[in-house]
């Protein structure tokens, strides 16, 4: 595209430059009906995607979205409106619409606006969007060749690369001005293996708030991901029926953090606790997990998919301890819940885009390492399941029941990994499962950047991390009794 720098039109020098005076006027309009607080959320997002299939780059796409979301708070109530048109007239209309939530009362004047000093957790020398597209096609082909070269039984390979730059500007009526530029890339390969009548698939991928330098990391090259997708597809050709019922389960490092994300993470987002609808409501200071468990949500990890310099309410990204040695010590907050619990911002107010109001959301959620070696953890299991790769999870916040789906898992028999198992679900209850964590590995890893979290119709990129984890009792949803 000709707009070769991808700078937001609302940035200084842009076509719709927003300065403190414009922001102040809009905030004043938003508050004219008597709202307590208002904020403006300007967003500009450019994304591009490349898809390779049948050894050809079949599709190239690009999208540009831009808009302003205006939020007005009156008590616990939110008025929200947005506009894709950044002419002052349309922005003013959105501000007035959002302000209607407050029915009468004196208009508060916005405070003087001061820039918020933000850290930089993802300095990117060159966003991949600015790199020549041909380099990206080379990456896709390398992945395709990596997968096909792994085994002649690989019959289908798809590879995709999605890159994005998102610029945001948050201005609040209490005087904050925060700007961030968030690069993100996500790469994925999927391979299908066929052997006679049997067919299986495997996937691998990664990314983060990086440029194309992502692919220079260990086990991150396109060819490596291609081989890994192929390896899983081939391994699963021999998969057998998974067992059914309660048993010991060992979760491998990194991606098993999904368990954490589902089992405890969502339940500690303070909107549910503010409303008293989470099973962690009113549990601060209580023992909610085994002593081994310390859980943090950390938006400050360098270049990780879930990291944020600023959250979507303009607060700096932070590291927050949620569970310390088994005791619940904190929730993740947005502005509304922080006010309710009389605590400061935690840097967890996130939103999918300017079309949505912020909510408490996770960033990178991690279970910190423990004392055991991964070998001794597996050796301790007589009969159970070892879970390595996952396709996703889901939780019911109220009762704490969660599932997560294994795409690569193995039977453990007498302390050894034996047969690969067909895709299977684990189901458990968040607080129960964390009490059943009996061993924790010293092999902590952060997941590669592939995970997206959905909540109430809004998707945000997140990270997860864990060491190997032994759970002494959880239900495995196989078909073999």
């Amino acid at each position: 595209m000709t707009s070769d720098t991808f700078r937001a039109p609302f940035a200084p020098g842009g076509e719709y430059e927003v300065d403190a005076e414009v922001a102040r006027r809009l905030l004043a309009l938003a508050l004219e009906r008597g709202g307590d607080y208002a904020d403006l959320y300007f967003e500009y997002r450019v994304s591009a995607d490349y898809v390779l299939e049948e050894e050809k780059v079949k599709a190239v796409g690009r999208g540009i979205t831009m808009g302003l979301g205006v939020r007005v708070l009156k008590g616990d109530a939110t008025g929200y409106a947005y506009s894709e048109d950044l002419s002052f007239e349309r922005m003013a209309h959105a501000a007035r619409m959002a302000g209607q939530i407050a029915a009468g009362g004196g208009a508060a004047a916005p405070l003087a606006i001061q820039p918020v000093v933000l850290p930089d957790f993802y300095p990117v020398a060159q966003p991949s969007l600015l790199m020549p597209p041909e380099e990206k096609l080379v990456i896709l082909r390398a992945a395709d060749q990596g997968a096909r070269g792994f085994d002649p039984r690989i019959s289908k390979v798809e590879a995709s690369l999605v890159e994005q730059v998102r610029e945001l500007l948050v201005v609040t009526s209490d005087g904050h001005w925060a700007q961030d530029r968030q690069p993100l890339i996500r790469f994925g390969v999927r391979a299908v293996a066929e052997d006679g009548k049997k067919r299986q698939s495997g996937s691998s991928g990664g990314g983060g708030r990086l440029g194309l330098d992502y692919f220079e990391g260990e086990n991150k090259s396109p060819a490596w991901h291609g081989r890994e997708a192929a390896r899983i597809a081939i391994a699963m050709l021999d998969a057998r029926e998974a067992p059914a019922g309660e048993m010991e389960v060992v979760l491998g490092p990194a991606d098993s953090g999904i368990l954490l994300h589902e089992a405890v993470g969502h339940g500690l987002e303070a909107d549910f606790n503010r409303k008293g609808t989470s099973n962690y409501s009113g549990q601060l200071g209580n023992k909610v997990a085994s002593d081994l468990c310390t859980v943090v949500d950390d938006g400050t990890l360098p270049s990780s998919r879930g990291s944020i310099n600023a959250d979507d309410e303009g607060n700096p990204g932070q590291r927050n301890v949620l569970i310390e040695n088994g005791t619940l010590v904190g929730y993740m907050h947005d502005r509304l819940s922080a006010k309710h619990f009389h605590v400061g911002a935690s840097g967890n107010g996130r939103r999918q885009s300017f079309r949505y109001m912020p909510m408490p959301r996770m960033t990178n959620t991690a279970l910190l390492p423990g004392p055991h070696s991964p070998e001794e953890i597996i050796q301790s299991v007589k009969r159970g399941v070892y879970a390595r790769r996952f396709s996703g999870g889901q939780v019911n916040i109220s009762n704490g029941d969660f599932v997560f789906s294994l795409t690569e898992s193995y039977l453990i028999e007498d302390g050894k990994l034996t047969a690969p198992l067909k895709g299977v679900n684990l189901i458990g209850n968040g607080p129960d499962v964390l009490r059943h964590v009996t061993m924790l590995g010293n092999d902590y890893q952060l997941s590669d950047g592939i995970w997206t979290c959905g909540k109430e119709g809004q998707s945000v990129p997140v990270g997860v991390g864990t060491p190997s984890v032994k759970i002494d009792k959880i239900t495995v949803g196989g078909t073999e009794k």
């Binding site: 490349y50 780059v57 109530a77 549990q283 079309r355 009762n399 029941d401 969660f402 458990g428």
Partner: protein, 454 residues
Amino acid sequence: MVRDVTAELREIAERVVHLARKAGADDAEVQVSDGTELTAKVRLGEPELVQEAGSRGLGLRVFRDYRQAVTYTSDLRADSLERFAADTVALARLSEPDELHRLPDPADLATSFPELNLYDVDSEPLDAAEALARAVRGEKAALAHDQRVTNSEGGTYSRVLGAVALATSGGFVGSYRGSYSSLTVEPVCDDEGGKKRNGYWWTGSRFVAALEDPEAVGREAARRTVAQLGARKVDTCEVPVVFDPEAGRAIVGMVFSVANGSSFYRKSSYLIGREGSEIASELVTIEDDPLIARAPGSRPYDGDGLPTRKNVIVDGGVLRTVLCDTYTARKLGRASTGSAGRGTGSSPAPTTSNLFMRRGHRSRAEIVGKTERGLYVTSMMGFGFNAVTGDFSRGAAGFWIENGELGHPVSEVTISANFDDLLKRIDMVGDDLILRSSTSSPTFRVSRMMVAGR
């Protein structure tokens, strides 16, 4: 009165087709969409959110020498669109030629459009105050229905009005408007051990007059939530599993995920090569019908500009066809089934319109009554379906059936079977099909599945 913008959208779409052709595209397709939303949410009687906004977007696909690019923009100013069209054509050179990347045969395009009644003028006058009032009524009824309802995730009333236009350089121009209104109520109960039980009920329709009363929605939401109190695991066992319509429609949706042209040519379906053979019990007929007046998933033309038609996917247990758009049909060497869906800013792909399992002749009571011991599933969780192999394993909640009657509530179990077995083991189909959402199902029973619990 909400202004009808379809003519304006058609004009923009045709203009951008022209701009793309001028910039060097062999062919171009443009979809423009326009929508307004009003969402009002209350919690414990107080307003929690009022969201009102309108939005517009334009998606462009160009072909040049059988190479394609697909782009999206929300910036619809005239000079921006000119640059956007030129940039998209330039982008196409990055992709590789695929001779199937071309427009449908002009002779196949829709030239007349059925009147499907997809837009309700009576849903226009709603304002935020009235939306809040309906949400309050729904939630209040839930809280009043049973004193065990102790909390609430709220009541939400939402209305969407939209218009969409599609124009292609192959000569197709079409547009239509749609409306949809809904009310959802989500009560919460306190259970033993600090657990909460949440539930919900909802009503939704293109026509506001067809919505259930807010009070009825609230009472049903309360009834469903309270019924879960004391839910527990059951012992691991292999038993018959009854799917209620809400859980059953997820199963019907999965049938589509393995019976479409995309999953077939991408080798991502265990049903490849099975057309014309039995893939389900003879009680199972699944169809996709875009031509049902007023129904939520209906559409007068498909995303390629082809006429839409009813397709019977599974007929008495036999796989008759898989749903295809133009591209996937060409990949498979056959004709499109007129099933292209198209998001603004994405390529067409096979999608469902109104997908449902045809009703059987048994009442729900009869199905439960004939089940001596089994699981009645009301909701499922998770993503445990492998389309390539058909392995199915999902979290489930519902009720235990003992001696032909619904007994204690059940949660924290999984249900598993290979999907091929699951469909073939459907041995009873209910008569309670209601087309409330775009994928629907009657109650049905699977004679045997593994239930994993304790």
